[in-house]
Amino acid sequence: MYNKFYSHIFSVEPVHEKFASLELNESEKSELLELLHSNIHYAVIDVVLSELDEDRKKEFLHILVVKGDNDAAWGFVETNITDAKNKLLNSINPIVEEFLKDLEE
């Protein structure tokens, strides 16, 4: 369900571990996890599109949306964005950290 073109560069395992210690039912966990992933996704898409010119943006979206090819999308990102992995992690990690912090409170 959460398999995205960038899924291999990060893990939300700490979130699952935290969930295990909380008294939330499966539906509540699923809702929260979905929100976490959607927030990550918007952040990632924003980073990628912000790094590309208009033509490249369209090309990337075509691969992602029309072809639905995660491998090709990741290949495109790596080819066209310098230091792509770190740039994406710099946007993903703070989101996961904030989410974990909220679960701690």
């Binding site: 008294e23 979905e34 996704h41 599109l49 943006k57 979206l61 072809k67």
Partner: protein
């Protein structure tokens, strides 16, 4: 953790992250509108094939997207994106009054989109604006003796909307019903989905007060947030706000919530056009597309 605090804990986190989700979605659509519009235009033919990718952009929280539902969500997202993107070139970059040509273009766009007769002028009568900053209004008393305790039909409604308060006076048209017993569903909906507009600033209003009052009273309108495509069918239920407020219209708590518009420093503009619906067929409330 007690069941109550557990529920509060989940609700608090859910609310915060849902709010972040919506904000990021709006930012993304605004920031990369041209590319997203392009792909929406060019992927339409792929329907299901395009779903995976586009759903990644919308990912509605708390909805488990089953295969049978995907197309429905995709279509909704698609149309939603179209409206936001299509309105963008019709609106000025910086806020100002719209020209007659712009009003016509937008009315046509909205008519096509919603398959309704949307007009900015009916019988040569128009409001002072059709594009303005919206502020938050309170609930209105629907009948003599209506209070916060009697106003809401469900505890869920009360929880969501009671904090907006009940205006101390009646609306511009008086009570919606003469008594609690005579209150109809139509009255309830009219109060729930009302806007206050500056009827007193309408061209020629002061020289034709009675005629204009009758025209504006519960006149059906479409209000659209052009930045997220959220829209709601409402009636004119009150007059206001005063000019000095800097706001051009007001929305009931339910209207504001659906449009995702807020008062104060983060207020934003909306489009508000008449719906020509002489047979009263268009229901009040949030509207997607027809």
């Amino acid at each position: 953790m007690s069941p109550r605090s557990k529920k509060t804990f989940h609700k608090r986190i859910y609310k915060k992250w849902l709010s972040l989700h919506k904000r990021k979605q709006e930012e993304l659509l605004t920031k990369h509108k041209a590319a997203l519009k392009h792909i929406a235009d060019n992927s339409k033919q792929y329907a299901i094939g395009a779903v995976g990718g586009l759903m990644l952009l919308t990912a509605p929280p708390n909805l488990q997207i089953e295969s049978g539902q995907i197309e429905k969500h995709y279509e909704k997202f698609h149309r939603h994106l179209y409206l936001v993107a299509d309105l963008e070139p019709l609106l000025p970059e910086n806020f100002r009054d719209l020209t007659s040509d712009e009003k016509n273009s937008i009315a046509k766009k909205l008519s096509d989109f919603y398959k309704l007769d949307i007009e900015y002028e009916i019988d040569s009568k128009t409001l002072n604006k059709v594009y303005g900053y919206i502020g938050a209004e309170q609930h209105l008393m629907r009948f003599p003796g209506d209070t916060e305790a009697t106003h809401f039909q469900t505890s869920e409604e009360a929880e969501k909307f009671m904090s907006s308060g009940l205006a101390p006076g009646r609306g511009a048209w008086g009570y919606f019903a003469n008594s609690k017993d005579s209150l109809t569903q139509k009255d309830i909906d009219r109060e729930k989905y009302y806007i206050a507009v500056q009827t007193f600033l309408a061209p020629e209003y002061n020289s034709r007060v009675a005629e204009y009052r009758d025209f504006f009273k519960y006149r059906k309108m479409l209000v659209v947030n052009p930045h997220n495509g959220k829209a709601v069918v409402v009636v004119i239920g009150d007059a206001g706000p005063a000019q000095w407020t800097g706001k051009h219209l007001g929305g009931s708590p339910e209207v504001m919530r659906h449009l995702e518009r807020f008062d104060g420093s983060i207020r934003g503009p909306v489009l508000y056009f008449f719906i020509d619906d002489p047979e009263d067929k268009v229901p009040l409330g949030p509207i997607e597309t027809n």
